[in-house]
């Protein structure tokens, strides 16, 4: 492809272009960052500061964000925020990296719990602690969420669409199997229940599997298991997942799958759970709305509970938040923060939670009458709120090591679906992570120590 562009421009043109690119890279800041192109500003918003915000929310979630943004645009007369959808979190990050090199950037961007770390290491994000004022203080946010975006006293990333894993179960089926209509308190209890669940049949189908494990994000869910076994993925960049606790956690799950035949790797756990091929699944809190609908269609009662414990409780936070790009001009960064302040208002946060199923991001939002009404009406919704104070930020290994979130998922998929010895699986994964962590060491030290 590049070769053919060569043809079109002629050799000299192309050489000139390359030269220009090389020169602009060499001189670094000589050329300013420009705002990436947007649409024409609607007439009623003319004369305002035009901000461009990149996001990764599709479907109903995307519509909910569009609503929030148009309310923000109408709520004041200085700023116009244009939303631009850029695909999923990883696609957005990929595109942001490209635009940073090309020096054409948006003003603010949605980044996941993994991708913001990369942008922070690339020095692309603006420290936000100086922007807070009487309207919004960092302490207004739910503590888990705001500390996750804070490194060395600077706030880089503000929470927005946050979620945690949750234990979903089929209450009707549990009761039919003679079990209590609640989530198992410990994994061992669940293992005791498994034989009774496996005897159940739904329709003319085969026997019910106790637990479906999702392939996507499996390393996110397993972060909980690591902590439950008192292990961890890493301490900073120091990889710990092949220590005895980590291997014990992996071994328990491997035996639950292989010996008890009580869990399996599912292509889409939510669907297997929805059509009752599996009696329980670990899923995001954000899946509650869809799962409730699936349960209604499958005519069973949905139950939710905290993640099962082993030696301790463990549950990671996940999801995404906003970052402001440090290369944007000061007045636009200031305006971008005004938008984030709007999102941090309790009523906005509650509206967003009601529309999407993501957790509220500020403490006061939990007292919003609409949310209170929802919690009393649907006890499943309150489960995630009650679990929230016990959750925490994942170990940095998964978050900062490039591509770790992907290859760790692969490793756990292999553990769940093959006969590999758990100790071997964890050692292989740890080795790979250490190799990648070594490459990252200098830049990590510069940003985190």
């Amino acid at each position: 492809m590049t070769a053919m562009i060569n043809n079109r421009f002629g050799r000299r043109g192309m050489l000139g272009l390359l030269g220009a690119a090389a020169a602009s890279v060499a001189t670094g800041c000589a050329r300013d960052f420009r705002q990436v192109g947007g649409s024409a500003v609607p007439a009623k918003y003319h004369g305002r500061l035009h901000l461009i915000a990149w996001h990764s929310f599709a479907s109903t979630t995307g519509e909910a964000l569009v609503d929030l943004v148009s309310k923000f645009n109408d709520s004041q007369s200085d700023i116009f925020v244009e939303l631009q959808y850029q695909g999923g979190y990883e696609e957005t990050q990929q595109k942001l990296s490209a635009t940073l090199i090309a020096r054409q950037i948006p003003d603010l961007v949605v980044l996941s719990e993994v991708t913001w770390r990369a942008m922070h290491l690339a020095d692309a994000l603006e420290p936000l602690e100086g922007y807070f004022d009487a309207d919004l203080q960092p302490t207004d946010y739910i503590e888990q969420f705001i500390t996750e975006g804070t490194v060395k006293g600077h706030i880089w990333w503000l929470p927005f669409a946050r979620s945690t894993p949750l234990f979903y179960f089929n209450k009707t089926l549990f009761e039919k199997a003679g079990l209590p209509g609640r989530a198992p308190r410990t994994w061992d209890e669940f293992a005791d229940w498994a034989p009774a669940i496996k005897k159940q049949r739904v329709g003319s189908g085969s026997n019910v599997m106790p637990l479906a494990l999702d392939g996507g994000y499996s390393a996110w869910y397993f972060q909980g298991n690591m902590w439950q076994w008192n292990g961890r993925y890493s301490d900073g960049l120091d990889i710990k997942l092949d220590e005895p606790e980590g291997i014990a956690a992996a071994t328990w799950m491997a035996e639950f799958i292989r010996k008890h035949k009580a869990a399996y790797l599912s292509a889409k756990g939510s669907i297997d759970f929805g059509n009752q091929a599996a009696s329980a699944a670990l899923m995001s809190t954000a899946s509650l709305a869809q799962t409730t609908e699936l349960a209604k269609a499958g005519k069973f009662e949905l139950g939710t509970g905290f993640l099962p414990e082993h030696k301790a409780f463990g549950c990671p936070t996940g999801g995404s938040g906003w970052g402001i790009l440090t290369h944007a001009p000061t007045e636009r960064k200031q305006a971008a923060f005004e938008f984030l302040k709007y999102l941090g208002r309790p009523e906005t946060s509650a509206t967003w939670t009601m529309a999407t199923g993501y957790l509220p991001i500020v403490k006061k939002a939990q007292k919003d009458p609409r949310l209170v009404a929802l919690v009393t009406k649907d006890p499943n919704f309150s489960t995630s709120l009650h679990q929230l104070p016990k959750t925490r930020t994942q170990d940095l290994g998964r978050l900062v090591i490039p591509d770790a979130s992907n290859f760790m998922d692969d490793a756990f998929e292999t553990l769940y679906s093959s006969g590999i010895a758990p100790a071997t699986a964890m050692r292989q994964l740890a080795k790979k992570m250490r190799r990648k962590a070594d490459l990252l060491e200098d830049i990590y030290r510069a940003h985190y120590e």
Binding site: A3, A20, A21, T61, Q84, G87, Q94, A286, Q290
Partner: protein
């Protein structure tokens, strides 16, 4: 870029799976014939079931899609999916964009490929084989690798979020050039020599002699290019920012969220928007396509 994958898509399509090539060697006795038909039915079903599932799911309610055991026939026709899908992204605008990008992209790609392959076959210039080798090398480079450099080039030109940015980078296709070159190599040199004796220049030779003789291959290249441009996803996503410049495959993404709620009925309906124009093109051009593809298979 993604041409090989597209080729398999094309060959796996139900229309090409009709087995016309078997006519000359039709088995005489009854048993092999039954086996042959059984095999064909299996292959046919394998191709048709996913498309049937797509079409039937597009008129099911969300709940009905997931029911196990699967319901093969929708109990009622839930056409609201189409309305909902149409409103959840600016599909009207995306149709226009997709059509513009596909048509001008394909035309440009064919022009570049025809001219460059002609040059490689009929024009003498130094280090021709070396340069051709470099081009072939470029074909081995996966598309994702050139994504960033291409984006930077397009950004330098100020083409981000424009039709030029969507279309022009796709004009250079080594695969198309390679296919055409291999075909042109098989043309007898006597014909081109004769035309030169008659006083035809290169353009005349290309237009009146080489192109008509290469028609089946040009059609093959055109179809491959048409389908890959229509389905192209990652480049349009990267190079455009605003919804009014987006193409259909990106529109599909807007219906599906990673976490949280996905209305699969609407996703299926929107997928129909994307698939149906391609199916119609196949329907009208299937003779040409099959001829072109088999031509490609024997001459490539």
């Amino acid at each position: 870029m993604t041409a090989p994958a597209t080729l398999t898509q094309v060959t796996a399509s139900p229309i090409t799976g009709r087995g016309e090539g078997h006519r000359s060697q039709r088995p005489k006795s009854i048993v092999p014939r039954i086996l042959l038909y059984l095999g064909l039915i299996v292959v046919g079903l394998a191709a048709i079931i996913p498309i049937y599932w797509l079409l039937s799911s597009s008129v099911k309610t969300s709940g009905e899609i997931f029911v196990f055991p699967p319901r093969w026939f929708p109990t009622s026709f839930h056409f609201e999916n189409f309305v909902e899908a149409w409103h959840s992204a600016p599909f009207g605008r995306m149709y226009i964009n997709s059509i513009v990008v596909t048509i001008f992209g394909t035309l440009g790609e064919i022009c570049v490929a025809v001219l460059s392959s002609y040059a490689f076959v009929f024009l003498p210039f130094p280090r021709k084989n070396l340069i051709f080798g470099i081009f072939l090398g470029a074909m081995m480079v996966p598309g994702t690798v050139v994504l960033l450099p291409n984006y930077m080039t397009v950004a330098q030109l100020g083409w981000v979020n424009t039709y030029a940015g969507l279309i022009v980078p796709g004009w250079g296709s080594v695969f198309a050039m390679f296919l055409l070159r291999q075909h042109m190599m098989t043309l007898p040199t006597e014909i081109t020599e004769a035309s030169r004796v008659d006083g035809a220049g290169h353009l005349r030779t290309l237009w009146s002699i080489v192109l008509p003789l290469s028609r089946p291959m040009v059609v093959t290249v055109m179809i491959v290019s048409l389908v890959s441009k229509w389905n192209d996803f990652i480049w349009p996503l990267i190079v455009t920012n605003t919804d009014n410049m987006r193409v259909l495959p990106v529109g599909l993404l807007m219906l599906k969220s990673d976490e949280g709620y996905t209305d699969w009925g609407a996703v299926m309906a929107a997928t129909c928007f994307v698939v149906i124009p391609v199916l119609i093109v196949f329907f009208f051009a299937q003779r040409q396509i099959v001829a072109g593809l088999t031509q490609g298979a024997t001459k490539g």
